[in-house]
């Protein structure tokens, strides 16, 4: 999806705010929203890639302007409405007007510590073997995908080199549609000169740089 989230290499954004307070949470509502997201009953069918795609689908201007955890609120609200668990009126008022859903009960405080150690693996031992060898040159697809994808625009059509095979991992483009299917995943190294026109100038300020991305096999073709 060519959406507002695909920010890599977009130019003339301003300076990074480097003098941020050290605390984990900068306001109470941010902490609450983060905690709600950890603790709420899972909505059936929601997985990490679909959740990410739901964020990508936020109105482009809202995506670029609303605070980060405010966007989490909107993701959860959209998922609740999409699933028929809540109505928009309930979300806005904060008051239930329809029946409670028949979902897995929410986690209690006594189980939080154990849950914090829970690990979700995305590699699949029975996935297909890799077609590319370490050291091979590959070109990333020039065309993106209409839905969720993890191939950023800034590497499309560009040539990189396979640095590492990472095993077969769940393919996000399918996972965001509810399908758990694995594909070989590679770490691919792209030189700055391949990605950024200004890096090719003899007096380029940004010299001796490269970007590594983890890319699935169907994003790549031999080069």
């Amino acid at each position: 999806m060519d959406g507002p989230h695909d920010l890599g290499g977009r130019q003339f954004f301003g300076p990074v705010t480097v003098d941020e307070p050290e605390e984990a949470f900068h306001s109470d509502w941010e902490a609450r929203m983060w905690g709600i997201d950890q603790a709420l009953s899972p909505v059936p069918g929601v997985n990490l890639d679909w959740w990410r795609h739901v964020r990508e689908l936020i109105d482009p201007v809202d995506y670029l302007t609303r605070p980060y955890f405010d966007q989490w609120m909107q993701i959860e609200a959209a998922l609740l409405i999409d699933s028929g668990v809540a109505t928009i009126e309930e979300i806005v008022s904060g008051k239930a007007a329809t029946a409670s859903p028949d979902l897995e009960p929410p986690i209690g405080p006594e189980k939080v510590r154990a849950a914090s150690k829970h690990v979700t693996r995305y590699d699949r031992a029975d996935g297909p073997p890799p077609s590319f060898r370490v050291g091979a040159n590959v070109r990333a697809n020039a065309v993106g995908a209409p839905g969720h994808t993890r191939l950023p625009a800034y590497v499309r059509g560009r040539v990189g080199r396979i640095e590492r095979f990472c095993g077969a991992h769940v393919f996000p483009d399918a996972h965001a549609r509810g399908i758990d299917r694995a594909e070989p995943l590679y770490t691919v190294r792209f030189e700055a000169e391949e990605l950024w026109p200004e890096a090719r100038a003899a007096d380029a300020k940004e010299r001796r740089a490269c970007v590594h991305l983890d890319l699935w096999e169907s994003y790549l073709e031999p080069a």
């Binding site: 306001s27 959209a78 690990v119 693996r121």
Partner: protein, 217 residues
């Protein structure tokens, strides 16, 4: 059951845009109340999650890992070979670290981690990501002008040093092992860990010398 229907969700987002109050705190408060009333949320569990990530799960964990890697060459080898297993020796595996990779700074190499597409971050060893890491500016610029971004963090990278940026596009998470600074010979792991800033494990800090002033977190 969710629908996986992009157009439907985009439409819901526009409805939410039109109907939600502008104030984020009000939005979240209403959501929390609704979820509790619907039996989908336990407030005490929310409190507990916040407490855990405020007090315990944060960059101090990563700093311990780095300090051990500096002190114990065999551990460092395990950390670079299989970081997920290596942090599990501390009991630190958890959210977003099922597939962790540690990349090492040297005199000739500086590593910098970003997630251009969202906000992927090795949460169980570094805690909640700083706001700048999730902001448009860092996400847009870190891959294209890493030296300029690093300069804003007060980090100057010589022309002879290669900058390697890691864009977290899959479920692999990245942590940087900064260089052990000079002048720390014989220090124990706790003393070393106190030198390791959060930013040094993301790559927006480099020189961890005990003598330097005001380390960037």
């Amino acid at each position: 059951m969710t629908t996986y229907d992009s157009k439907r969700v985009a439409h819901i987002h526009r409805e939410l845009h039109d109907h939600l109050p502008s104030d984020s705190a009000l939005r979240v408060k209403a959501l929390e109340s609704l979820l509790v009333e619907k039996g989908m949320l336990n407030r005490a569990a929310v409190d507990q999650w916040i407490e855990l990530y405020t007090d315990e799960i944060g960059p101090k964990r990563g700093a311990q890992v780095v300090a051990r890697a500096w002190s114990d060459p065999a551990y460092k080898k395990r950390l670079i070979g299989n970081a997920t297993a290596a942090i599990d020796e501390f009991g630190f595996t958890g959210s977003a670290t099922a597939h962790l990779r540690a990349v090492e700074n040297t005199r000739d190499v500086h590593n910098l981690v970003v997630c251009t597409l969202c906000s992927c971050y090795p949460v169980s060893i570094l805690g909640i990501a700083p706001s700048w890491y999730k902001a448009n500016e860092y996400r847009a610029r870190a891959v294209r002008e890493p030296r300029s971004v690093l300069a804003e963090f007060g980090v100057s990278i010589g022309d002879e040093v290669e900058v390697r940026v890691w864009d977290s596009t899959a479920e692999l998470r990245y942590m940087v092992i900064p260089e052990r600074p000079a002048g720390t010979e014989g220090w124990d792991e706790n003393r070393l860990a106190a030198l390791v800033s959060r930013n040094s494990m993301i790559g927006t800090d480099r020189d961890l010398s005990p003598a330097r002033k005001a380390p960037q977190r």
